[in-house]
């Protein structure tokens, strides 16, 4: 069982790249520990900026640094980063095309029992709505590292949401990665699962279980929410009876909405959107919350069976 978190994976790749690139700058809002970026701050203090608990300033300063040629990675809890500093993300980053990657740590319900103030179940919708902002939700540590390496190669803004706890490995070090191209983890004739982030390992197991039960099921890891990889979705959805999206997000404006938008336009299809509900969530660990709302392997399998009228 993997114990390396995606935030550690980000720190590792930034440490590696920063050895040869003095323009890589990490900016934190008293969040270096929770972002697992303390090793970066210790190794490259000249390339690390602390702004204190001030998310608006975090994003504004990042934009200023980027406007002067820096490659900036600003890391802060997703709940604050995508709401408190939303306008800075809109104006200083997205509208201004500054070379800043906003890293929303402890995304979704990672903070579990800390409650709704610390949940970010709106960030896919909020960040996707910004013209000029790209939105990525990598699943495991390997994909996360490949994504960050790819983002270092261009100069456009991006938002990356990661979870707090370690995600089960989906890939390995030799995985193939293409920016803005979703990964097909399995092809099926009956059902297509579309998941992102923390939901991918659950969906992968659900796919395996469904295939064992004779329901031919495929899976797309749609880590690139924006720009959404419509081509891969349409290819895989073409012949199936049912598409099921799974996301750690509110029902509106995220993976389900975006998939519905593409399918209804080009390939009308029976669609089930699994997500957190649009209500105040129960208290618990993230895994308990997933289970309660049917966002685990069992919940996905049941939702598929129900939709196919097997139960």
């Amino acid at each position: 069982m993997n114990t390396i978190t995606n935030r550690q994976a980000i720190c590792d790749i930034l440490l590696e790249k920063a050895k040869k690139d003095k323009d890589i700058i990490v900016v934190c809002s008293d969040s270096r520990g929770s972002a697992s970026l303390t090793p970066f701050a210790q190794t490259f203090p000249e390339q690390f900026v602390e702004v204190g608990i001030a998310e608006q300033n975090l994003v504004g300063i990042s934009a200023g640094l980027a406007a002067c040629g820096k490659k900036v990675f600003a890391a802060s809890p997703a709940c604050f980063l995508t709401t408190r500093s939303y306008e800075q993300a809109k104006v200083d980053i997205a509208y201004s095309h500054t070379n800043v990657t906003l890293i929303g740590i402890s995304g979704g319900v990672s903070y579990g029992a800390l409650g709704m103030t610390h949940h970010s179940c709106q960030d896919f919708a909020a960040m996707s709505a910004l013209t000029g902002m790209r939105v990525y939700i990598p699943s495991d540590r390997f994909q996360t590292q490949k994504l960050i390496a790819a983002l270092l190669e261009d100069k456009e803004p991006a938002y990356v949401r990661i979870s707090r706890s370690a995600t089960e490995d989906v890939y390995n070090e030799s995985m193939e990665f293409k920016l803005n191209k979703a990964t097909v983890l399995g092809e099926g004739k009956d059902v297509l699962l579309v998941a992102c982030g923390e939901m991918v390992p659950y969906a992968k197991k659900a796919m395996e279980e469904l295939n064992q039960k004779g329901i031919s099921t495929g899976l797309i890891d749609m880590y690139c929410l924006k720009p959404y990889d419509a081509e891969t979705l349409l290819q895989q959805a073409k012949d199936v009876k049912l598409v099921v999206t799974i996301e750690e997000h509110a029902p509106q404006g995220g993976l389900g909405s975006m998939s519905a938008h593409v399918l209804s336009k080009y390939c009308p299809k029976r669609l089930v959107t699994l997500s957190l509900p649009d209500e105040h969530l129960i208290s618990g660990t993230n895994k308990e919350i997933f289970e309660y709302y049917g966002l685990d392997t069992k919940g996905i399998v049941q939702a598929v069976k129900k939709a196919l009228c097997i139960i």
């Binding site: 700058i25 000249e46 390339q47 900026v49 702004v51 204190g52 001030a54 608006q56 300033n57 994003v59 504004g60 300063i61 990042s62 934009a63 200023g64 640094l65 980027a66 406007a67 002067c68 040629g69 820096k70 306008e87 800075q88 104006v91 200083d92 509208y95 201004s96 095309h97 500054t98």
Partner: protein, 272 residues
């Protein structure tokens, strides 16, 4: 009349023309901030069309972005683009000269317009200079009403924390905002004390429409080491056009033909 003052009145004439033609813009603030812009662009800063891609050019941010009209006139006059085109097309259909600074216009560093953003961005730019051991300075111009935005105080803390003596803020303190006086809306009476308590070097300019006084203040700011400086320029909203001065109605008022003629006449009299 000294050269800078003459320039500021010539630019006022351009602003009046731009705003009369477009029936848009923020004339009151334009006329209060124009002397600040004149002193910065025609003397203090090393920014010109020829060096605008040079990494070591000074950086300028108009945080009170609604006075883009005044900035466009200055940049056009400096040769960043055809000034007359800006005057003729400001705020018109498909014009790049929209109501706020945007990078489609040559000479603009970053898009702005929502208040309370410029100082944080300026902190980032000044920090980048320190990191790269570059000598350029970053200038940010804010409005007095804008100081009600809380994000400014986050930026003020950071500028002090990182000892950004290469950062110079200016408050265009014309004492009026759209709903009334600063004190009526949200008092900023102790703005100098606020900056001082945040560890900034505070320079008050009694007549913020005096190019001579402003020049002295910016020279003083350049000498200050170890902390950021703020120039608090006590200006007059609508300065230079008698019926606009200190009138909140002229925050973004639109002139009729008679008013336009009078405004031009008053400015011509000063220039002659």
């Amino acid at each position: 009349m000294d050269k800078l003052t003459r320039k500021s009145y010539e630019l006022r004439r351009d602003i009046i023309e731009m705003i009369y033609k477009s029936k848009a813009g923020h004339i009151g603030g334009d006329l209060s901030v124009i002397d600040i812009l004149t002193v910065l662009y025609y003397d203090v800063m090393n920014i010109c069309p020829e060096n605008f891609t040079d990494d070591n050019r000074d950086r300028f941010l108009l945080s009170k972005g609604h006075c883009a009209d005044a900035l466009f006139v200055v940049l056009g006059d400096q040769g960043f683009f055809d000034k007359q085109e800006a005057i003729d097309t400001f705020s018109q259909y498909k014009s790049k000269f929209i109501g706020h600074p945007n990078t489609e216009v040559n000479g603009i560093e970053i898009n702005s317009g929502s208040l309370g953003h410029g100082l944080s961005v300026g902190v980032g730019m000044a920090l980048a200079a320190k990191m790269d051991k570059k000598t350029y300075r970053t200038y940010v111009v804010l409005g007095d009403g804008e100081m009600a935005e809380g994000s400014n105080y986050e930026a003020m803390m950071a500028a002090h924390q990182y000892q950004l003596d290469n950062l110079c803020a200016t408050i265009d303190f014309n004492n009026l905002q759209i709903s009334g006086t600063i004190d009526e809306v949200m008092s900023s009476v102790s703005i100098a004390e606020k900056f001082a308590s945040f560890g900034w070097n505070v320079i008050e300019v009694e007549d913020g429409n005096s190019c001579k006084q402003l020049l002295k203040a910016y020279q003083e700011a350049k000498q200050c080491k170890g902390k950021p400086s703020v120039v608090i320029a006590h200006t007059v909203k609508g300065k230079g056009v008698s019926f606009m001065e200190n009138q909140k109605a002229w925050h973004h008022g639109v002139m009729n033909q008679e008013q336009y003629k009078q405004a031009v006449q008053e400015l011509e009299e000063v220039l002659s």
